[in-house]
Point group: D2
Chain length 358, copies 4
């Protein structure tokens, strides 16, 4: 019963098999192998974009930070939600990769940037050399509160950004879960809605260590080859990343994984929501559930062996609050989460709930 | 017959099996898993050093650049051989990771830094704020010409460096081959000879994508945790690196791999050396062979399907030269190179040689 | 009637004379001249500190950013007030000089960091490699709201900072005005209260272009010689900076200038405070006055030729607000502000006030 | 008799007077004053270039490093002569300002880059992501050996650079001396010969602390406003730089100063050349003289109070060498060097020479 994150498990079976299958034989190093070269047409097809540039890397932090470095000069600002992973959880990777650019947090419910707040912030910006100029907007899909931006929201935010000369980045660590949740196409969620670069995640959805930077605008791709190499993110045995990503896309494995994880999250949410004294802080937008639990239930679950993070100090919808004697927690499901694992957790919760009522 | 490099093949069987074996189950992310935590005592034992700090990463470029960043401030110099990989082949990774430090190339035969040249360079250095101060010395073991520094050479260079306040880094992309060649212990080749940080390579010697930064001085380890994270080199599924490295050390697999590769290089060198018109530019110091071939032989080998790099424009021993109608080439053997592969190559060479003589 | 800032005027007469006086003759370049060398004992005497290291530069931005770079590694945080000049008005100079460190704004009334907020923020900080570690605290003296931290407040903040391993920086762009206002010694306001580096301002208080970084801790001074040179802030004709600073200290010229500016601010505040409908947002803490004016008065003053900045969107004391039909403005006096200039401004204000009442 | 450098003296009389004259009165800060704004049309006229962008700064190091940062991305190379000031004497300022770009030294007699060497170097460059791509060429005019590139040499080098996608920078610390020596127009020596950015020096030729970055290509000017501010090189009291530069251009004061310094160098060279055992290592190309002196003469001059730098370890023309018992020295004349000072030096030299012969 480990719901701590979707990166606590290993690779999915097809991806692990691909790593093993492509291990044999001699191949050109540093991404010149056919498997790596074949990723570009594959991603172009999936994203319906003939000029897409494709840069595999091993970690999400590298994927995000390299993408931002391609967009934001050292003296520029990158706007993001004030709870964004790039701002809070990467030990300053964007600052390192951009050589000293600055992240500017913006508010918004559900960890989504509020378009009105974005427009107002940009309108109020002093036009003076003292002020670092904004050059990019970064959206997290899913957000830190597990919500998916709707296509119209992405389009509206991108439009505001573009009108002010900003490029648009999407941190898609859980992109697959968002696509599965919205039932749209990858193209619709990205370049058709104005996204210029997508950090396309795979490690949280079945890969062992694989992410891809997908660049929809040729002018933004120019520097990435060099930036990736010099950051030590061009693997010599490129087959390792390519095998994972090839298997990830094959037969829509990525979407199947995400749909499963989302179903498990829905099952968790449904079960928890039926318990007395439990309510969901946020609707389920993908594979994350944010219940507010009675403290006794929280304790009982943890004593029963369930693993997950406390989220009590994080943001909530307007009007909502975690009361004394309650805990806000975050539960994440993965491609590998079994229905039996969810049900065991729910059984544990129901028993604890009943004991408390007795 | 691919002798282009030792990174053109996949992982060795035990390492691949370890990746598969450790794939199952939920484990803490970001290096807090038991497998990763267990690497520290393992390496401490292998290196006979009780305070060794251990930082696994996925690439050699990251390993080298992070090590140098721990040693050299943004305004400092790192001395290295003028042909060193860190200077010539990493697209400025050291400059990126150190935030603008500078690599200063020094001369020396066999791509080894000449201790006298090091001492002279340091003695002649202007003491003025216009001059970036030297803060580290980086040694490549094996060197770019496939040579191994002797233990006394390492000690002498380290001693000069330390007396001038420089830390000593060893780029050990082929450290295993050097240890196998010299028959010394890992400790003797590193901290006992004055090395402060070792970039311990595994990817070129059987791993899929795994390297380790080994820090022998506690004061140099302090910043690496943060620097690695912010560079995106802390993998979320740390088991991937740990499984490889665990298997790499197990039963001295790493040394067995290196000894095999070295034997294959010796076999290649012996066979080639016996051919008319062929001579070795450098003695075999590990798993690399640098023959000077008649151009016709070079052509015949390539037409026969052999893959390797031309090295004609590189440095040579004093008095040696590549004549008109000759080519200097580099042949690298790996853990996976078969004796049959070597023999097939030598057969091809003998036939071509005989044809040319006819 | 230019109250826009204290940097809109040139140099004071003694400083200009010193520049002229020291122009003749040949002197060693790059700070090796006797005048520059003499600054160190002069500042050591003024600050009663035998080990003080002294680094003159031409601008306050350079002075602040270099000081922070000496304290904060590229992966570190610098805590400051959320309205601090280093955070808002230097186009990311600290981020540039520190190579990507991050400024973290903290709240507090009067643009002073609240010690309780500092302690709470540090206590709540996650201990995880995802989190950039705080390494410095930067205090602005005077603050952005013209307030002076009391000696006990500095000591309390420094103490909290030091207990958490942070160094303490003071942005003393208006240090002289603060010393003059509090009537304490320079030593009391700095190292005796726990300040480790002071950016000692002169340009806003009579110099043409001169600031000094004063380092009270030897370990923090080591890198500054190199950092300053490589930033292009070591002037070849060092006499230019030295002449200004020598004259600035001579006969307590710096304190006389600051006392005069403070008196003019008090005169302004007193006159404005007596007008109907005018109130001061903040008490006068040095040479800045922040009145809330009826909009009609604001218009009349500007039409009458007075120059100053609108400050309406800035922070206010709890409970205070700028009403519809009012404007918060900032008036700054300088060493050169004449009593007649203040009185002319007040006359203009009184007339406008009377007209409005009529 | 101080011939150590042209920055050992203060400002010329007209420039000092301008500083004093423009000291009075209140003016907008940060370069918004009329004097600073007026520099743009002034420089456009002098350089016959309608789109010239003008960025005054206080030091040559800042001027060079900012110019290179506008041209070279963090992963790029800047080619320059292997003895260039930007490479050898600025403590890594270009590396700092470019965020880790690399300077690549090229050979050439007289510290001039040899066009054939440049073409060959570019032609031999590996096209691989391991290789940092060259993005700029920096020429020093005068060179480190006091030579002036001819207009055709500049054009030829620029042409090679542009054909390979490199921008062209000119380090014009002694640009005035070069213009005076060649008798060409400023436009001819710069944009008409292919120069994209000029670091136009004034501090060595009569200013106290003033340099200007002149950008001939609009696309290269875009980032400099921000880069300069964030480097702390936008002075608050902009009048200080503007007054100097205004006076520097007025009535061709800059050319008059340079012509005088050049004449004094010629006088020195002529006098020294007539002495037995003395020869010039390089022809006089501006205001620098490089005689090879008998060691006894060198000693006598220094004992007689003459100040200058030993240059013995520096490069020489092919076939030339400093023999045992000789010294190569560098003598620099300035706008302020008096004919009497030169003659006193020559008298001293003649007496010492005669004594040695006796």
């Amino acid at each position: 019963m480990n719901f701590a994150s979707d990166n606590v498990v290993g690779a999915s079976a097809p991806i692990l098999e691909a790593i093993v299958r492509h291990n044999a034989g001699a191949l050109p190093a540093y991404g010149a192998d056919p498997l790596t070269l074949g990723l570009t047409p594959r991603f172009r097809e999936v994203f319906e974009h003939g000029d897409l540039a494709v840069f595999p890397v091993a970690t999400g932090t590298a994927s995000n930070a390299l993408a931002l470095a391609a967009m934001v000069p050292p003296f520029g600002l990158c706007l993001c939600h004030e709870e964004a992973h790039v701002m809070e959880d990467e030990c300053g990777a964007p600052e390192f990769y951009t050589h000293g650019a600055k992240l500017q947090g913006l508010p918004g419910t559900g960890s989504k940037i509020d378009p009105a707040a974005l427009a107002a912030w940009l309108a109020a910006l002093p036009r003076h050399v003292k002020q670092m100029p904004p050059r990019a907007l970064s959206l997290s899909q899913l957000t830190e509160s597990g919500q998916a931006y709707g296509l119209d929201e992405i389009a509206r935010l991108s439009d505001i950004a573009h009108r002010h000369g900003l490029s648009v980045h999407m941190d898609g660590a859980r992109f697959a879960n968002a696509v599965a949740a919205l039932g749209c196409s990858p193209a619709e969620m990205t370049w058709k809605a104005g996204v210029d670069i997508l950090s396309f995640g795979a490690s949280k959805n079945g890969a062992l260590a694989a992410e891809v930077i997908l660049v929809f605008r040729a002018d933004l791709a120019e520097t990435l080859e060099y930036r990736r190499k010099r950051a030590g993110h061009l693997l010599s045995k490129g087959r390792f990343l390519a095998a994972q990503l090839d298997a990830y896309l094959a037969g829509d494995h990525w979407l199947a994984n995400a749909r499963h994880a989302n179903r498990m999250a829905a099952r968790l949410a449904e079960g928890l929501g039926a318990l007395p004294g439990v309510r969901l802080a946020w609707p389920v937008g993908g594979n994350e559930v944010f219940p507010i639990l009675p403290a006794a239930l929280d304790r009982a679950l943890r004593q029963g062996g369930a693993l997950y993070y406390d989220w009590t100090s994080r943001s909530l919808p307007p009007g909502e609050a975690v009361a004394e004697g309650e805990a806000l927690v975050r539960l994440i499901t993965a491609f590998s989460t079994g229905a039996d694992e969810v049900d065991a957790f729910l059984d544990l919760a129901r028993q604890a709930s009943r004991r408390a009522a007795a």
